[in-house]
């Protein structure tokens, strides 16, 4: 496109120069003609006057020629001269001189002396060429005798070959001038095309680089200004880019912080639900979405009653959103899930205030905490207290009743007194045992007991407890058997605690024995450890009961068991003590046949502790 324009420009220049040349030529030719015309006119006029005043012999037919005319014909004829006629007053031609092929036109005789001398425009009759005609009178002694008629050809544009040289020169000059101008213009505009090329490249590179050009004048000023603009623009762009980067970094940091915050909130063990001032859900963490069996996307932007059907909860929430939120009453409630009654949740609320604007409430945050375990623990504690009270009351009842009996006894009711005294003694023992068991168990559970380990010769301990149990059998109808190896590897035990455990097992065996029952205590050493077994052929324990006998306060409903006093803590304590020694307590039994409790102690654990 560019080149076409440039070529066009050249063509236009050439065309323009040609036009100008032609124009100049035409002007020159016209000017020439005008000059010639003036010249011819002057000649014509002169000639006619000259002829009119020259002495002319009387116009006679015999006159041979007209001398002035003859004079004229002798020399070369003026090429512009068309005709000269000498006429008399009647208009008859007396003498005539014409150019070749020319016929003199008719003469219009002047009527008044004023018009004797005159000039008119005529046309040749032969070919119609334009002629300037001059006429003058012929006077003899002041008398009109005739007229002179001179016709001069009107000059036209003389485009003759002789002129060609001049014309060529003019054309050449003009053309050269044009060329010079063209070249000058080209020179001036060359920087522009350079500029254009540079700009094109710049836009392709996406830069605002300065123009590299040395130019003068307007273009130079333009380049300077442009470069200044470019510099400004570059500066601004750098600025914007920097700001953009900063904004990007800030956005990323913000996104990271938000993500971190959200992951913190999601990691919370509690479910968090945030409502805005209108009561619409604005945020839920992952636990909350799980609690309501939905997703964060689904819940956000909706109302809580879509997800929660618990009227207590909804009421609590409603009281604490919107304008009412300003006056909170109680801040927590507890409720349990409809489909999981053992799951207890505690719901608390906290108003979210705008920073620095305490009165402006942005919304409310609700936290659901799983307090099932606390609830169970509370329940267990309440149960424990109830059980303990009950267990304590029973022996106290008996003590009260029997001591009253003693008070009312007569001194001679010996048997009654002895009976009562014995019962009181036993009940006191029972009470003391219960209290001890309770204390021991609580200590072990709370972890406040650190077993005082010492090297214990098990056979001594077992024999001791065995003897104690045998002595305790007042009725005396039980058979006691002890089966101990001569040497047992000493183990690290808390002697007193372990004694309590063994004691419990043996007293149980005695308690639940039947008449003429057998009680067998044995110990066996294996490479892995030591096993102590307490066997009796007493009442036995049913399969279901075997699952539960180690539970606190559990006593079987079996009437054989109920017939015997007990508070359901003995085996629990045993197990705890054995566990404390990294051992295991197991039971095998068949109702009505036998019961065997086995304590397994790991030797390694014992020795390890010893090493420590």
């Amino acid at each position: 496109m560019h080149d076409w324009k440039r070529q066009n420009f050249g063509v236009w220049m050439i065309a323009a120069s040609m036009v100008v040349t032609a124009f100049v030529l035409v002007i020159v030719l016209h000017h020439e003609r005008d000059l010639l015309t003036q010249q011819v006119r002057a000649q014509g006029g002169d000639l006619s006057r000259a002829l009119s005043v020259s002495r002319i012999s009387p116009l006679t037919a015999q006159e041979q020629g007209y001398r002035p005319l003859q004079a004229l014909t002798q020399g070369p004829m003026n090429p512009d001269l068309a005709y000269i006629t000498v006429r008399d007053t009647l208009g008859t031609v007396h003498h005539e001189l014409t150019a070749a092929g020319v016929l003199a036109p008719e003469f219009n005789l002047p009527t008044t002396p004023a018009s004797w001398v005159g000039q008119s425009e005529r046309a040749l009759p032969s070919d119609g060429r334009a002629v300037m005609e001059f006429h003058a009178p012929v006077l003899r002694q002041g008398e009109l005798v005739g007229f002179i008629q001179v016709g001069m050809l009107r000059p036209g544009l003389d485009v003759s070959a002789g002129k060609a040289g001049m014309f060529a020169n003019i054309a050449m000059a003009i053309f050269l001038l044009t060329l010079v101008y063209y070249l000058l213009i080209r020179r001036e505009t060359k920087p522009l095309s350079n500029l254009t090329r540079q700009l094109e490249l710049h836009s392709a590179e996406n830069g605002f680089q300065k123009l590299d050009l040395i130019a003068s004048g307007c273009i130079g000023a333009f380049v300077q200004n442009f470069n200044r603009l470019a510099e400004d623009a570059q500066g601004r762009m750098r600025d914007l880019e920097t700001r953009n980067e900063d904004a990007l970094v800030a956005t990323r940091v913000l996104a990271y912080k938000r993500a971190r915050l959200e992951s913190v909130l999601d990691a919370l063990p509690d479910a968090v639900l945030v409502l805005d001032a209108e009561g619409i859900i604005s945020f839920v963490n992952a636990k909350c979405a799980t609690l309501f069996q939905s997703s964060e996307e689904d819940m956000t932007g909706t109302q809580p009653h879509l997800w929660c059907k618990n009227s207590k909860v909804l009421g609590f929430i409603a009281e604490r959103t919107g304008n009412v939120a300003r006056t909170f009453r109680s801040d927590t409630i507890e409720f349990s899930l409809v489909d999981q009654p053992e799951a207890h949740l505690r719901l608390s609320a906290c108003p979210l205030r705008a920073p620095n604007q305490d009165q402006h409430i942005l919304g409310t945050m609700f936290v659901f905490r799983d307090v099932s375990r606390e609830h169970v623990a509370e329940q267990a504690r309440a149960d424990f207290v109830a059980h303990v009270s009950h267990e304590l009351k029973a022996p106290l009842n008996v003590l009260a009743m029997y001591s009253e009996t003693l008070q009312d006894a007569n001194s001679d009711e010996r048997e009654l007194i002895v009976d009562a005294a014995n019962v009181i003694h036993d009940e006191v023992d029972r009470l003391a045992g219960l209290i001890n068991n309770l204390l021991n168990m609580t200590s072990i559970e709370m972890g406040t007991v650190t077993p005082k380990r010492s090297r214990v010769k098990l056979q001594d301990l077992i024999s001791d407890v065995f003897e104690q149990a045998r002595r305790g059998d007042r009725d005396g109808d039980l058979t006691f058997e002890l089966n101990l190896p001569r040497d047992l590897t000493p183990v690290q035990l808390d002697k007193e605690l372990f004694r309590v455990a063994l004691n419990n097992l043996l007293s149980n065996a005695v308690k639940y024995s039947r008449e003429q029952g057998i009680i067998r205590v044995s110990a066996v050493e294996t490479p892995a450890g030591i096993e102590i077994s307490v066997w009796d052929n007493g009442v036995g324990i049913s399969e279901q009961d075997q699952q539960r006998i180690f539970d606190k306060f559990y006593r079987s409903d079996d009437h054989e068991v109920r017939a015997r006093a007990g508070h359901g803590l003995g085996l629990t304590l045993c197990r705890e003590i054995v566990r404390l020694h990294s051992g295991e307590l197991r039971v095998r039994s068949e109702p009505g046949k036998y019961t065997e409790f086995t304590v397994s102690l790991e030797k390694d654990a014992g020795l390890l502790k010893q090493a420590i």
Binding site: V398, M401, T405, D408, D419, V423, D557, H559, R562, A563
Partner: protein, 126 residues
């Protein structure tokens, strides 16, 4: 001589009550739970029934209700030995006529006094 039936799972309590009541001149029978009590009553209705609440197989409350059911025209009064906790849950007792409550720990003396009172009321009321 009045026949008294004691329903109580604690052996010691049974024993001391039996001793006290025997000394007070009653003829005492004892059973360890509510079911045994029901069976004993079926074979022979006592003059007075003394029962605990907490017993295996059939507890005191259910025993009273079963008696109400099975022996609508029963003649004998029932003394219920109750702990303070059970005092709160006594609504069931409003429909049972001839019911007396005695708080634990039961004083054998107080029981004897109550029994005599009941007998006196009965004989007077009849």
């Amino acid at each position: 001589m009045h026949n008294v039936l004691i329903a109580e799972d604690e052996a010691h309590v049974r024993r001391v009550l039996r001793m006290s009541l025997t000394r007070a001149g009653f003829n005492v029978g004892e059973v360890p739970d509510g079911q045994a009590a029901l069976e004993a009553i079926r074979s022979m209705q006592p003059d007075i029934l003394i029962t605990d609440i907490k017993m295996p197989r059939l507890d005191g409350r259910d025993l009273c209700l079963r008696i109400l059911d099975e022996f609508p025209g029963r003649a004998f009064p029932i003394v219920v030995m109750t702990s303070s906790v059970e005092r709160e849950h006594r609504e069931w007792s409003h429909n049972v006529p001839g019911l007396w409550f005695l708080e634990k720990p039961v004083s054998p003396r107080a029981l004897v006094v109550l029994l005599n009172e009941i007998i006196a009321t009965e004989t007077a009321g009849l």
